[in-house]
Symmetry: C2
Subunit: 434 residues, 2 copies
């Protein structure tokens, strides 16, 4: 337990320090080689990599549509209900985010519009295709579907003789995805970025992945004009703010549900009550012993901090400084504090709102900014699948009036031709009026 | 003149090819050195660079507030009116973009919210501080002001004994900007990214600039966690689609107003009428001879294409393929075609809507995606100064129902602790009901 007000600023900063994430030069070089191969040899490169890296004896690139359609038959009724419910809630919440065009006359005769255009072709990456990670499909696929993107490609890796998990295929089907590529890592990213014989070229690539996927996404965004990616990805993290009446079992369970994600996950508890922190420590020990991923969770806990603060107000200041991906508020009444929330990816309010609700099924998106990016980056939302552009339409009289603003500015900036584009039109109007 | 349907696909692609833009390794190394200096030595590094690179005998970093307040006295009434009008129109159009939070119950007891948070500290870069470029201040500053950002820093370079132009200072004052840094290039970007004694650290940096500014922006975004930048910057471009009744003088003036921006600008004309193209060529020659920046414009024209297409429909297809920053439609009736607009930054509709209207004063933003980025990137808009995050609040009954979606998904993904965070709560509810 760290007593926030009794340690130096350096010790405070150290407690909020994230494990360093540095992509090795080697990862970059491997990605560049893979990207060059895929760019030149297309499908052949993907097939060769499937044999070499994924041990696929007879690799194929695209999942036949019947397999996608029939996947539902492999699911238990409970899992099917869960996927259907998650899909419906996520769809409902993101449908409410559908953007509306704006049309406004800024001054007489000058009409300005802001319009939304769906990004035409999007690529969705889902890690670990043979494991069941349907939530990752839903959190990306629903948005692509709602945007009306013309082309949606989903890529996921498959090893050995395994097949893509039925839960993934069923979730993809719900999202209207028919192009599913059995390929992973930097090769899959390159295939979607450049296009191959089988894989359509996309404009923007979404989704989490290992260091090769992350690096390949960065490289295609940096080197291919017009190519975009969703957001920088880092290890997952949660910060819990709990008062003296919070249930230590709930706090411990929330911290552990984050810690089991990966050894590099980070969990932080801030409380104004020493006993709450002590009891949470005991609850963590009890619960950890029963987890199947206890080794991973234990490693993550080693990077983590339980911090005693003076007040709940101070906890919100510390949280804003850290900028957590997930922020859980186990407070008697969180309402007075909600205005103090800053730099969080997604907030979970009250004793009965665990992070796993948002991870799977509440309706919010689980793709969130990590590693301090929550000061500037958004939670994944429907607008990430759109771009905006503007339109202006000016009448003759509108231009006549507006010329009094344009001409002095063009003159001041020494741009004759900018002024001339207005002047030739004013002259034409004058000739027309003669 | 290129006859689109009479040349090979390669020749078509070549006609739409943008001049290559490659940042040299040297530019990158210089930026890295400058960034390291500013990070370590702060203000001292900025002052040393002002002496060395900008020939400032007695450099200062911040403009005193009285100078900002008094700048209006140096302006002609015409220029003041122009700045006031541009400010008002840009403000009106961007105010209409203020986002609204979303609140939605996705299923009983499960409340989901999407909330907007202004990015707290933003940095605005304006090139050429001693030249009058007030439009660049307005196009960034109005948005920062409307967002309610707590900290707004404007940086602009000044050479020798010159002062920051009064038009810039006055535009900044209108936008409520009080922190103006007399510093340019990679040093200014580093100062805003790291913070110095005089320059506040910001979260996101906006604005155009030369290759050093562009490179420094990329480097700070890549290396400082949480740091963001507006969009990749490239040379400016316009594409005009004109029918047989379009006025060649107008077309020529629009092409030249783009060409005068820089030798690397690109201008393209698409018309279905050979005579229109020929007459435009003559008009370009006549108008070019009278321009003060004719050397620059002539160089840009050398990279450019006048293309004869079969139909206006085909022109829109070619335009979508190119993805122009500015798209001008000089058509008898553009309305039937507006649905075909794709991958454009800003669209100018009709004979009396020159690009210079949008560059300065119509109300739309002149910071636009270039170099093909218009397939994925937005025109600068108010949301670029905000981020979104989500909030969920779940009741006991809400969680009970939602658990039927969460638990099978957590089980399928093998994440015990995720399931346990729900189970400990269900158990507590059951105990409470006993």
């Amino acid at each position: 337990m760290l007593r926030w007000n009794e340690v130096s600023a350096d010790a405070q900063a150290a407690a909020l320090m994230r494990p360093a994430v540095s992509a090795s030069v080697k990862v970059k070089e491997i990605c560049q080689t893979i990207m060059a191969n895929v760019k030149e040899q297309g499908d052949d490169a993907l097939l060769a990599m499937a044999k070499e890296f994924d041990n696929r004896p007879t690799p194929r690139l695209l999942v036949p549509i019947e397999e996608i359609n029939n996947a539902v038959q492999q699911l238990s009724p409970e899992l099917r209900y869960a996927i259907d419910t998650a899909y419906a809630n996520v769809k409902r919440f993101h449908q409410a985010q559908l953007p509306k065009d704006i049309k406004l006359t800024t001054q007489p005769g000058v009409l300005c519009e802001l319009k939304y255009q769906a990004i035409e072709a999007v690529g969705l990456y889902v890690p670990g295709g043979s494991a069941a990670l349907p939530s990752s499909v839903i959190m990306q696929g629903v948005l692509a579907q709602l945007s009306g993107a013309k082309t949606i490609v989903l890529a996921t890796p498959v090893q050995g003789n395994a097949q893509i998990n039925s839960a993934i295929l069923y979730a993809a089907k719900l999202c209207g995805i028919t192009t599913i590529v059995e390929s992973g890592g930097a090769g899959a990213i390159a295939a979607m970025a450049y296009g191959t014989g089988s894989v359509p070229k996309v404009n923007k690539i979404f989704g989490p992945g290992n260091s090769f996927v992350t690096m390949a996404k960065q490289l295609v965004a940096q080197t291919i004009p017009g190519m975009a990616i969703d957001m920088p990805a880092g290890p997952s993290e949660v910060l819990v703010i709990a008062d003296e009446r919070a249930n230590p079992e709930f706090i411990a369970a929330d911290l552990l549900s984050q810690a089991e994600h990966g050894a590099d996950s980070q969990v932080i508890l801030l409380s104004n009550n020493e006993l709450t922190i002590e009891r949470t420590q005991h609850a963590i020990e009890r619960q950890l012993a029963k987890l199947s991923r206890q080794d991973i969770a234990a490693k993550a806990l080693a990077n983590s901090s339980l911090i005693l603060v003076d007040s709940i107000d101070q906890a919100f200041d510390v949280s804003a400084q850290y900028g957590p991906e997930h922020l859980i508020l186990q407070l008697a009444d969180a309402n007075p504090y909600l205005g103090k929330v800053k730099n969080a990816g997604s907030v979970f309010v009250g004793d009965y709102t665990p992070e796993s609700a948002g991870d799977y099924a509440s309706g919010t998106n689980h793709v969130l900014p990590t590693y301090g990016y929550s000061a500037t980056y958004s939670s994944l939302n429907l607008l990430d699948f759109f771009r905006t552009y503007t339109v202006q339409t000016i009448t003759q009289n509108g231009l006549k009036n507006l010329s009094k603003a344009i001409l002095p500015l063009a003159d001041a900036e020494g741009l004759d031709a900018h002024a001339n584009a207005v002047k030739v039109r004013l002259e034409a109007m004058n000739r027309g009026n003669e």
